[in-house]
Amino acid sequence: MGELTDAEGDVYHALARLAQRTPFVEVLAEAGTGLSVRYNGHSTTFQSPPRIRGAVFRAWTGAGWTEVSVSGLDLPTLRFAEAAIERVLTHRPAREAPPGDSSTARIEKATETPHSMRDMAEAEMRELARDAYSWVAGMPDIHETDVQISWRLDERLYLNSAAARCSQSICRVRGVVMPVAMESGRAESDRFIQGGVGGREILDGLTQEGAKRAGEGARALLRARAPPYGRLNVLLSPSVTGYFAHESFGHGAEADQFVRDRSYLRPLLGQILGPEVLTIVDNGAYPGAWSQIYCDDEGHPGQRTVLVDKGRFIGALHDRATAAALGATPTGNTRRSDVFSRSFVRMTNTYIEPGESTLDELVKEAHDGVLLESGVGGIEDPQGGQVQLKARMGHLIENGRVTDLVSSMALSGKVLEFLHSIRGVSGKEDFTLDTGSCGKGRTDFLPNSAGGPYLLSSAVVGRA
């Protein structure tokens, strides 16, 4: 924990003093480093993550939480935070501990990699970006290509008055190639992305073959037909399956929505919602996945939590407050975007586990419909149980065969109807996890991953 080691003593002492004023107080300190390069044939841009260090103190007042964040870990800055918390505690002294389990974990972990990104110099990153650009730049119709190579090392230190000490250092690495094809004023793009938690080895997956595939995808979209619209059989590609798991089920299973009586899923806990082939998981401990965490921001270890087991809805995602309110245990899903943002119950790596069908079998089963590919995103509706997903492209399915390419489209539907309509999930050979980000509402974005294999169901689709 190179970036935080020098400040740990001062942070600890500030916490210890505050612990004399309240039954429970915690602090999360954060620092980061990294580098990103962007090349598009015209310009090369380098950017280092901000040299920002800071901390957030959270104390229990007896009736709720109060928080103070500061940007700095020097003694005067920590004293400022301490004094601000003390002022609140003077007016609202707490006598009893907050509800829920206070972590007592002692964790010290860092991303393990044979090839640290710290050893990859600016010149090498620039050369890789230029190589990736050259793989696509000469293709017909490809008008421009944007390449980004980046890594970020996020260091977090969590301490609380129950003696927890969790120190984690996570390195996220990503390479993106985005070719843009143009013809007669129409522009279309596709992406090839490789990313995860690790080191330089992740960028070995940024291959010429993958980049060219994205280039071909962008070119093909110039001549794509408009998508069909209305209720259809829909075959989701792995990235779109991931967005479905994340938007439809993951957000609804964040238990703060249960406590707010804002989740359509809450009364359905324990019920069968889908076929036996359906298992949905959130897994913060998934090795190497983009949203892997060793512990959450309340000091609970990242873990695998099964939300839906063979069609039955069995679990939700909890922080200490929701676990206490609902008689559960924390699941390691308390996360902050940074120390300047509040914590929420958040997903990590959320996915649908592989089934046993092959892609060919699912296409034949669909007979007629549409294959949605290259997921772009989606949005949840925890209260209403609706879901929206968007795909950059797709193919028609006609008479049990994949036929013409179609342009971007949106999917809309009621989650429970969609789950009940699932007719197959493909096997592990198709399983992928992506590298994305997710907000809570419109703010508080943090690294998030979703994935799965191919999945066949039915829903309304339309141009988007």
Binding site: T44, M182, R186, G230, Q383, G384, Q388, S408
Partner: protein
């Protein structure tokens, strides 16, 4: 925090350390943020102050006829910290390259932008008290409304002293406030009928508006009840009315993707004079609208903001530049260099990100389409889209679309039953003759209203694709 100060502002403290390192620019912010979060109508958490002070150093170095531009953000104001940030910026500049040899940073002489109303004085002086009063009024507005309740909410206020200086002589600063409001309103209905519906509202503003709470709560409750009663959308190509809230999710991203110097550099911009929309469309970029979230006396490079004509009766007039892209095309910045803008949203701390070219507030000139009712009458048989889940515009292709979270069927020229679910989408801009939202505009309403980074009347689109159940 008292009134805005500039003497000891973040950027100026750093600038003192940069003598001899010209050309350079420093953008600084001193930020205090306060938040109240609601669970139902109970206060779940108060936060604040979130105290954040930092700066970003940009250096510009010649590189084989081009410019090597490097930047580094930091919150370390010690001499060693500033030196370290400068070294990082210099290292980035060594490996970077931007295709211009011309650098024209503002000097602060001449127009300085003048006064734009972007600071809520009461909020500045009494931030937490102001938020608590606002939340009290919000909770009180639901009293006497059986069947309606807050399901969650938050109100967050950010108070910022922005300071900018550069080696060309610029030395400026201003204070501003920002308010983010997020509210979920639930309609429970009675024991019969459909389950509860929720209307989810997000807004970004420069000031708290407690006097508008009553009117807003009435509207949110009506929308929540309509979400509850909403029925599946129809299917087909049909006339669609889009109000300002929907256009706010579409126009800024697409304009940013096509009508800027960065798009021109990448070769995906449209050329001045090119017809891109119906004659009914006259579009400005206006960074001086009072209280708009993107308004300010100067942009984040210190160039005065003003009003720019983007589309004149459907034809491209101007495109937007920051200083770097202006240099690449031997023109001048339009005051469009902004930090922290992504996907149409702006972060509350901006110094962490370098400037990019971005629109400010997109303003569609009102037309002769009349009132909302007259637009609906002109649509005759179609759909009013009140809210799209996420319109997800693609800045490259211009495609947009998503789920209809709330809409209304238009029958015989009048609003009829609410609809919910299904999709709406299309392409925002397309060359003349090709189908697009802007080419198919049939009427522009006569009264503009302001919603986040957009000032626009509702518009009637002759035909868009609705994907529905029947």
């Amino acid at each position: 925090m008292s009134a805005p100060r500039t003497r000891d502002a973040a950027a100026f403290r750093v600038a003192d350390q940069l003598v001899g390192k010209e050309p350079w620019e420093v953008f600084g912010e001193r930020i205090r943020r306060f938040e109240i979060h609601l669970n139902g109508d109970a206060i779940e958490m108060t936060r604040g102050p979130v105290a954040l002070e930092g700066y970003d150093i940009r250096v510009f170095r010649p590189a084989d006829g081009n410019l090597g531009v490097g930047s580094q953000a930091s919150n370390d104001f010690t001499a060693d910290g500033i030196r370290g940030a400068l070294q990082d910026a210099e290292r980035s500049a060594r490996y970077a390259s931007f295709p211009t040899g011309k650098l024209e940073l503002p000097s602060g002489r001449g127009s300085t932008g003048g006064i734009v109303e972007v600071l809520d004085r009461n909020l500045w002086e009494y931030p937490m008290d102001s938020l608590e009063s606002y939340v009290s009024a919000l909770r009180a507005a639901f009293e006497g409304k059986p069947g309606f309740a807050l399901s969650f909410g938050s109100v967050r206020a950010t108070l910022v002293e922005t300071s900018i200086c550069n080696s060309f002589g610029l030395h400026t600063g201003y204070g501003h406030t920002q308010v983010e409001l997020e509210v979920g309103v639930k309609s429970s209905g009675g024991p019969e009928g459909p389950p509860a519906g929720e209307y989810w509202f997000n807004d970004s503003d420069r000031r708290l508006r407690p006097d508008e709470i009553g009117k807003r709560v009435e509207e949110w409750c009506r929308f929540a009840e309509d979400v509850r009663r909403g029925r599946p959308a129809p299917t087909g190509e049909m006339p669609v009315v889009l109000p300002p809230g929907v256009l706010a999710g579409i126009l800024p991203i697409v304009c940013g993707g096509r009508l800027t110097g960065s798009a021109r550099l990448r070769g995906v911009a449209v050329q001045p004079g090119m017809k891109l929309a119906s004659d009914l469309v006259t579009l400005h970029d206006d960074g001086r609208i009072p209280w708009a979230p993107m308004s300010s006396p100067v942009d984040d490079e210190g160039v005065p903001q003003r009003r720019r004509l983007l589309l004149d009766h459907g034809a491209i007039s101007e495109i937007l530049y920051d200083t770097l892209h202006a240099g690449a095309f031997d023109t001048h910045s339009t005051g469009s260099g902004f930090r922290g803008v992504s996907s149409g949203f702006r972060t509350w701390y901006r110094f962490l990100q370098p400037p990019t070219v971005s629109p400010s507030t997109i303003a569609l000139t009102p037309g002769d389409g009349g009132t909302d009712a007259e637009l609906v009458e002109a649509a005759h048989d179609g759909v009013w889209i009140q809210e799209i889940g996420w319109s997800s515009p693609d800045p490259v292709s211009g495609a947009f679309g998503g789920e209809i979270r709330l809409g209304y069927r238009i029958r015989d020229g009048e609003l009829a039953e609410p609809i919910r679910g299904g999709t709406v989408g299309g392409v925002v801009f397309a060359p003349e003759g090709a189908p697009s939202l802007m080419n198919r505009l049939q009427a522009v309403g006569s009264t503009a209203s302001f919603f986040e980074p957009v000032s626009t009347p509702p518009v009637l689109v002759g035909s868009l694709t609705i994907g529905g159940e029947h």
